[in-house]
């Protein structure tokens, strides 16, 4: 199971710009490396990240083999209403992880 750390402010004023951070544990094997016995180590990376705010997609990222292990993604959005922010990662070998955080907007 992948460990996930997300940071969303618990409270925000309406219209305020908030920082959202998402960190996930993943070794991000590039697919370009060889094992000690010379075989190619197959690629195993996270390929996509999506963030939804009350169901509406507000951020999307594609990830590639050059991304370091344990990808950290940080971005900004405007706090519009109270609700849930959903995070979703997907990758090679059926990798999938989700996390959510509540935000209350006044």
């Amino acid at each position: 199971m992948a460990r996930v750390l997300v940071s969303v402010p618990a409270k925000a004023g309406r219209g305020e710009i908030i920082a959202i951070k998402a960190l996930i544990s993943h070794h991000m094997e590039t697919g370009f490396r060889h094992s000690t016995t010379g075989e190619l180590i197959p690629r195993d990376i996270i390929t996509s990240f999506v963030c939804r705010y009350n169901g509406e997609e507000i951020f999307r990222a594609e990830l590639f083999p050059a991304t370091a292990a344990n990808p950290f993604i940080s971005f900004y959005t405007r706090a519009t209403e109270s609700g849930t922010i959903m995070f979703e990662w997907a990758g090679d070998n059926g990798f999938s992880a989700t996390e959510q955080a509540a935000i209350s907007v006044e």
Binding site: L5, V6, S7, L23, F72
Partner: protein, 265 residues
């Protein structure tokens, strides 16, 4: 015109004075000069360490939290069943380890203590050195000491022989490059090596997340890196020489605050 013996005397005095004035090979770093590697790294890396939401070492601490509460072994006990909440019971532990174990008559480091608990209390197998689980548990335990000053291991008289042994290893030239740890970390810590600060080798943040490793690693892994770098034969994980060295490093870092899990370039 002076007599030749007078000239000679003048020359000797001059040489002696020059000897006094030139900087003496440093030796121990004074208390007010001791600086964690944190102070020598970039603002970006510092920011990464400071924010728990961006510090990738925290992922390992989360793993450790889960393992702390996981029942294991024939005894079907979790760490938490004996030690309770780590935030109170493990506070300050990392600041005073390696510690003397009276039963075995020698110093044990934190990972060895964790594995002894596993074999003696939980009745289960030891975790291999540098395994994800052992790093996670030690990161979780050490995290509870964050902000606390490292205690002086020399206050325990039984540890003094081991500290001295560690000091000798630290000051002994080894490997094909014929280098001693002290030549970089005591005498040239303020300089650069391959784009990075040499650093004083203060052991404030272990286990730590190293960007070069793309993962978390122990102090022994770091020391093995250094030994390979100076083309010496690295000690095995868990070797008594490493525990002595760890003790000496803790003695060098006494008073500095624990940062676990630290981030380093």
């Amino acid at each position: 015109m002076r007599a030749p013996h007078q000239l000679l005397a003048t020359a000797i005095v001059t040489v002696t004075l020059a000897g006094v004035a030139s900087p003496i090979a440093a030796g121990e770093i004074a208390a007010d000069q001791r600086r964690s590697g944190y102070d020598l790294m970039s603002h970006e890396t510092q920011a990464m360490q400071d924010d728990d939401a961006s510090n990738p070492g925290m992922l390992s601490v989360l793993d450790g939290d889960a393992l702390w509460h996981l029942k294991a072994g024939m005894a079907d006990k979790a760490c938490a069943d004996c030690h309770g909440e780590a935030s109170t019971s493990m506070k300050g532990i990392a600041a005073r380890y390696p510690a003397f174990d009276a039963e075995r008559g020698r110093a044990l480091d934190l990972t060895q203590r964790i594995n002894l608990c596993r074999s003696e209390r939980q009745n289960t197998t030891s975790l291999p050195y540098e395994s994800k689980e052992l790093l996670a548990l030690s990161a979780y335990v050490a995290r509870q000491s964050r902000g606390l000053p490292i205690t002086d291991p020399a206050t325990d008289e039984r540890l003094r022989a081991a500290i001295d042994a560690g000091r000798q290893t630290f000051n002994r030239r080894q490997g094909q490059l014929n280098l001693a740890c002290a030549q970089c970390h005591d005498d040239n810590w303020d300089k650069q090596l391959a784009g990075n600060s040499v650093t004083q080798g203060q052991v404030t943040g272990y286990p730590l997340y190293r960007l070069e490793w793309q993962g978390i690693g122990s102090l022994q892994r770091r020391m093995r890196n250094c030994m390979i770098g100076m083309r010496a034969q690295p000690f095995d994980y868990g070797a008594p020489e490493f525990v002595d060295l760890e003790l000496f490093m803790k003695w060098r870092s006494r008073g500095l605050r624990i940062e676990t899990p630290a981030v380093r370039p």
